[in-house]
């Protein structure tokens, strides 16, 4: 038996996989004061439902996979360690300057961001290496020793070291580490060239700074989690979800916690990819995860999980770069809690402000008075006020109607239902734009993709989104409301290694490049034989980070060969680059050579027999027949069939208008759409004819 637990903002989701490979989903409220309690609570819920004690449930477990936002929360709330940055003389402002750039050039209300590590805790040391690895100034070891002594007095809890060109000659960074170790025994140190051997000093410095600052608390969190799980009877292996859509041993995460900083949204695409393949035999999928406040969207193309080379904590240019690639997920402020408002010019907006979980939408009657997407859904009849979240929260339809009437109907002169439909329309459009942004940026026509709806609020408008995008299929997995936990269950043990080594196609350095690839593959093999020992399958993928000469933004290209034997191999790489560039940017410079800045190897060790879950549990009761009046977008009121998800038989087809409800979500099946339940338990919908884009509220 295996467990995957994802601690989200509102709920802690648990997927239990039995030995037959069948998934069951459970939820418990997240407990921010002690998140591990929420993890144990979710296990209690599962144990209760499965009719056994928590100890015997955990005792039967071989693997416990945990997704946590503990690290990012610590950064956002400023609860990280007191951390120092050591850098070159003359470059103290490395974290202040960042890489420049700004969003909203006319917005002068946002102050210049603070550096990740205060300038007062950034220390300069003389010594300089150049790009060709030569030393033009030796490291001032005596001065470094004085700094180290001062740090001891300053009660520093962690140290990050980033020196220019340490990636080609790490001697100075290593020496600094030696001095720190002598003067500050026990204080964790992160060296930039070891953690993130890539070009661009700001990114490396930021990586090191973030990593060091997380070490003390993440070591404590992981230690406590492990101890409490052991106490509760778990004797298996503990893995943690990473930002790259893989899992790592908990102890490795404690040593380099930066790898989990953006893990929150990284798993939904992993699950989405598996369900697209299993249910629809497709390797192209848009995964849209709709929660209360954010809409996370990602694109799986050709079966690969999308990655971005630029990951920000917070907003671009206002936050901090992690310096690491991560699963490419675009988040916008759109979800069930998004607030609808009308500006001075009479334009309706939905979000990005959110009523969140507290005070929540007006219909929660917990103090919220702003009209939200959930309120609109209630007015339109999408939600059953008595069966929201399985009846755990009663909804107040009058409060919803009143909020919409006051803030939307009056300024726009619309009737309540038309206003509610308009809110859903705008929310849908915001989501469609977010999807269009990521798909068009990657040259993928959304019409060729399966749309996967995850998260509790996905069912409200996913058919509408699919129609707007022209997707032929919308898929809502059985465990869609816990897509991240399901993804964690399916993910591979993974490690990614990078070596900065410049090469140009015009004068290709065969020996140098092949030596780098040898070293990378050897490191991958060591990983496969170490943490990956006993895994079912191991694979190594090699990529080049390349560009046309004089470009500064590289793109990743899979190597067409394992090693470069001659000009034909280089030509194959150049052609692969041209193709990738054309796919992404619509142009190729066919006569140009390319430059390779870095080489990347990814090793994956498969932990599951099959990627996909084995199938749904049998329907729990015969289907019942109920109807309710619902307002559908672009259609108006209709009597819709109301079904319970757990009663739907495999292969049973239902035509819209209908709504399918479960204790976790409600799925709206518009008139013209058809839904069928797949053997896995997923709902597969044919969205039907697309409406014209101007929409009719």
């Amino acid at each position: 038996m295996r467990f995957a637990v994802d601690t989200g903002g509102t709920f802690t989701d648990l997927i239990v996989e039995d030995d037959g490979g069948v998934f069951s989903m459970f939820k418990a409220p997240t407990t921010p004061d002690d998140p591990i309690r929420g993890v144990l609570d979710s296990l209690d819920v599962a144990a209760g439902a499965l009719g056994q004690s928590r100890r015997s449930l955990l005792g039967a477990g071989s693997l416990f996979i945990h997704g946590t936002t503990h690290a990012i929360n610590a950064i956002v709330t400023g609860a990280t360690a007191r951390t120092v940055l050591i850098t070159n003389e003359g470059h103290r402002d490395i974290l202040v300057l960042r890489e420049g750039g700004r969003m909203e050039p006319f917005n002068h209300t946002v102050p210049y961001p603070d550096p990740y590590i205060p300038r007062s805790l950034t220390f300069e040391v003389a010594g300089r290496i150049l790009a060709d690895a030569s030393e033009i100034e030796p490291l001032d070891e005596a001065a470094m020793d004085v700094i180290a002594q001062r740090l001891a007095v300053l009660n520093v809890e962690a140290v990050a070291v980033c020196l220019l060109w340490s990636i080609v000659n790490p001697a100075h960074e290593l020496k600094v580490a030696e001095i720190l170790k002598a003067r500050l025994p026990g204080v964790p140190v992160t060296l930039s060239h070891r953690l993130n051997p890539s070009l661009r000093e700001y990114r490396r410095a930021s990586s090191a700074a973030i990593d060091a600052s997380l070490k003390p608390m993440m070591q404590a969190y992981i230690g406590t989690l492990e101890a409490r799980l052991r106490d509760a009877g778990f004797a298996g292996r503990l893995l943690i979800v990473t930002s790259q859509g893989g899992v790592m041993d908990a102890s490795d995460v404690a040593d380099a916690p930066i790898h989990i900083v953006n893990s929150g949204p990284s798993m939904a695409p992993v699950a989405g990819r598996a369900y697209a393949a299993l249910d629809e035999a497709s390797d192209t999928a848009i995964i849209a995860d709709t929660g209360g406040t954010t809409f996370d969207v990602s694109l799986v193309s050709g079966g690969s999980i999308p990655r971005t080379r630029e990951t920000w904590i917070g907003q671009p240019f206002r936050g901090h770069m992690t310096g690491f690639p991560s699963v490419d997920v675009k988040s916008i402020g759109a979800g069930g809690g998004s607030i609808a408002w009308v500006d001075g010019g009479g334009l309706l907006h939905v979000g990005p402000q959110s009523a969140g979980a507290d005070p929540g939408p007006a219909c929660y009657a917990q103090g919220g008075t702003c009209p939200t997407v959930s309120d609109a859904a209630l007015v339109l009849g999408y939600l059953d006020p008595r069966f929201f979240l399985g009846g755990r929260i009663g909804l107040d339809a009058d409060a919803a109607r009143e909020a919409i009437s006051r803030d939307v109907c009056e300024p726009l002169g619309l009737a309540a239902e038309d206003a509610a439909a308009a809110i859903l329309n705008i929310a849908t459009e915001n989501m469609v734009q977010a999807i269009a942004d990521i798909t068009v940026n990657q040259g993928i026509d959304p019409a060729s993709a399966i749309l996967i709806g995850g998260g509790g609020a996905a069912g409200l408008n996913s058919v509408q989104i699919a129609r707007r995008l022209g997707c032929r299929r919308l898929l809502i997995p059985d465990v869609g409301a816990g897509l991240s936990a399901a993804g964690a269950m399916m993910s591979d043990l993974m490690s990614q290694l990078r070596r900065a080594h410049f090469a140009a196609s015009a004068a290709f350095d065969f020996d140098g490049v092949n030596a780098v690839l040898d070293a990378l593959e050897a490191a991958c093999r060591a990983f496969a034989d170490g943490p990956g020992a006993g895994s079912l399958d191991q694979s190594v993928e090699l990529m080049a980070e390349a560009r046309y000469p004089d470009q500064v933004w590289e793109i990743e290209v899979l190597l067409p060969v394992r090693r470069f034997a001659g000009p034909a191999d280089v030509a194959a790489l150049v052609e692969a680059f041209h193709q990738a560039h054309e796919d992404i940017f619509a142009i190729r410079d066919a006569h140009s050579g390319i430059e390779i800045m870095a080489w990347v190897a990814t090793v994956r060790c498969r932990l599951r027999e099959t990627v996909e879950p084995a199938g749904a549990r049998a329907p729990s009761a015969p289907a019942d027949d109920a109807y309710r009046s619902i307002h559908f977008l672009g259609h108006g009121r209709a009597e819709a069939r109301v079904l319970r998800l757990e009663h739907m038989k495999i292969g049973e087809a239902v035509n819209g208008p209908a709504v399918i409800e479960s204790p976790f979500t409600a799925i709206v099946v518009d008139p013209g759409a058809t839904v069928v339940r797949r053997p896995s338990g997923s709902l597969s919908l044919a969205p039907g004819a697309a409406l014209r884009a101007e929409g009719s509220a």
């Binding site: 003389e89 003359g90 470059h91 103290r92 402002d93 490395i94 202040v96 300057l97 890489e99 420049g100 750039g101 700004r102 050039p105 006319f106 917005n107 002068h108 209300t109 946002v110 102050p111 210049y112 603070d114 205060p118 300038r119 007062s120 150049l130 790009a131 220019l164 060109w165 070009l199 661009r200 000093e201 500006d343 001075g344 010019g345 009479g346 334009l347 309706l348 726009l412 002169g413 308009a422 705008i426 459009e429 269009a436 942004d437 068009v440 940026n441 410049f502 046309y548 004089d550 470009q551 500064v552 933004w553 793109i555 940017f585 619509a586 142009i587 410079d589 884009a693 101007e694 929409g695």
Partner: protein, 600 residues
Amino acid sequence: MSPRTGAPVADGVRLALLNSRLEGIVRKMANTLLRTGRSGVLNTARDFSCCIVTADCELLSAAESLPIHVLSGPDMMARSMKEFHPRLARGDAFLNNSPYHGCSHPADHTLLVPVIDEDGNHRFTVEAKAHQADIGNSIPTTYHGRARDVYEEGALIFPGVRIQRDYEDVEDVVRMCRMRIRVPDQWWGDYLAMLGAARIGERELLALGEEVGWDVLDAHARDWFDYSEHRMAEALSAVPSGTAERASTHDALPGFPPEGIEIRARVDVDGKAGRARIDLTDNPDALACGLNLSEACARTAAMLGVFNSIDHTVPKNAGSMRRIAVELRQNCVAGIPVHPTSCSAATTNIADRVANAVQAAFAVLADGAGMAECGASSPPASGVISGTDPRTGRPFVNQVFLGRSCGAAGPAADAWQTVGHVGNAGMCFIDSVELDELRFPLHIRARGFLPDTEAAGRTCGARIGYAIFGPRGGELDVIYNSDGNLHGPQGVRGGADGACSRQYVLNRDGREVEVPQFGRVTLREGEFMCSFSCGGGAYGPAFERPAEAVAKDVGQGFVSVERARSVYGVVTDEAGTIDAEATRLERARRESEGDGRDGS
């Protein structure tokens, strides 16, 4: 239209949906340009813009870009295209870099692609404009500040010349560029990037028109302009009616009168009517140098000052611009240039002075409106470097962005430090030290900010940004126009003025050697250029700055304990812990002495 009634526009829902679609298209164009451009000015400085104008040549939607690029000009270039090429066909593309035909300055090559529907009707024009690393000037810079006229400047001027027909290049034009432009492969790469962006915009607009109907898009444009105009009227009505005039002076160029070039802007706001009028006619005649503004830059700089002064969420398009009247005159340094007046550096030096004067004038009208002045551009650390790379024997020329600050304080927040200059607004990236040292034979010894150089105010202007750099293994030419050595950025409403810019060379003996303020300097191995940018002006008196904000700067190491006390009247220790009682007494004492009201 009465601005406060909130009269709803035709259909707020459809309007939002279609606007979002159009913004998606220009964003996609911009992303293509950024990621595929070859020159630093494009892929690092983001010195480009992408927009859609209507068939009537009105700016409809622009991607977020350098403000000086796009507010005015796309309209004029589209009109030139229609005038010179009355019969437009699908597959056409036109090249415009003429400051006499709507382009900002000759370095900004602009591709215009008419979007032609199935029936052959011209529906929209998409434009992709990108600053080139080189345009074939007489010296290797795209900002030839000292050029007497367009002939000495030396750029090839394209007043809306056909460069594609049936989606194929007009090779004659391409060959001309290749024969004239330094490092022609780099230009070619940037041309491809612009073309990719424009063609993507065309493709997406055709699909949108097909999907929703061209008439619906036309109706949308009308409604969107009305909506935007309404928002602008509402924003201007928040500013008290009145007239204010401010001057901002560009340092003297060699061979010109030493008092410099004073630029005056008069701002009339009629809050009740929701209108603003900017008068730039009281300025000197065009000068025999490259600093004269193009009409596009004169209008844009004036409007930039307005948009910087009001609610930033007002859409920037032809609709909102209906409420801004910009008065210009022919043959004026900040007006409408007459050929062969040179406008080589039209996007920076004088344009910055115009925008700064306008936003400072708004601050005169009301506390809470306008902004202080941003610092002047561009110190050597943002200059054009050129030479021959000793590692490869290949020539190189490129603009670098090693670090400058120049941000002005606004009423709501301290300066955005890395603004660069007012027309850039901080959009420019800053070069990675390692990336530059890899690409060019450079050694960047130091860069960052100078503590205790911020402009003190209720909100503070930027501190000095500096960089110290030199060649590795050969010689390096640096060309720059460093305005602001004498006339630094002015504060407003009692805020202090920002620091002036400065530059010198450190020779091999470690001695400081004076170098020209505007010029070309050749550095030998072992010599270093030391570049100090302007800061930016402050807003409001320093004694009104919250003590916590001062203490935070002290804690970061940006403001000394001594300066906190003497300039802000805040008593704190090095860690930034405030002595509240001592601070209260210090501020009260200064208040009674009438000290510190100008905050310096």
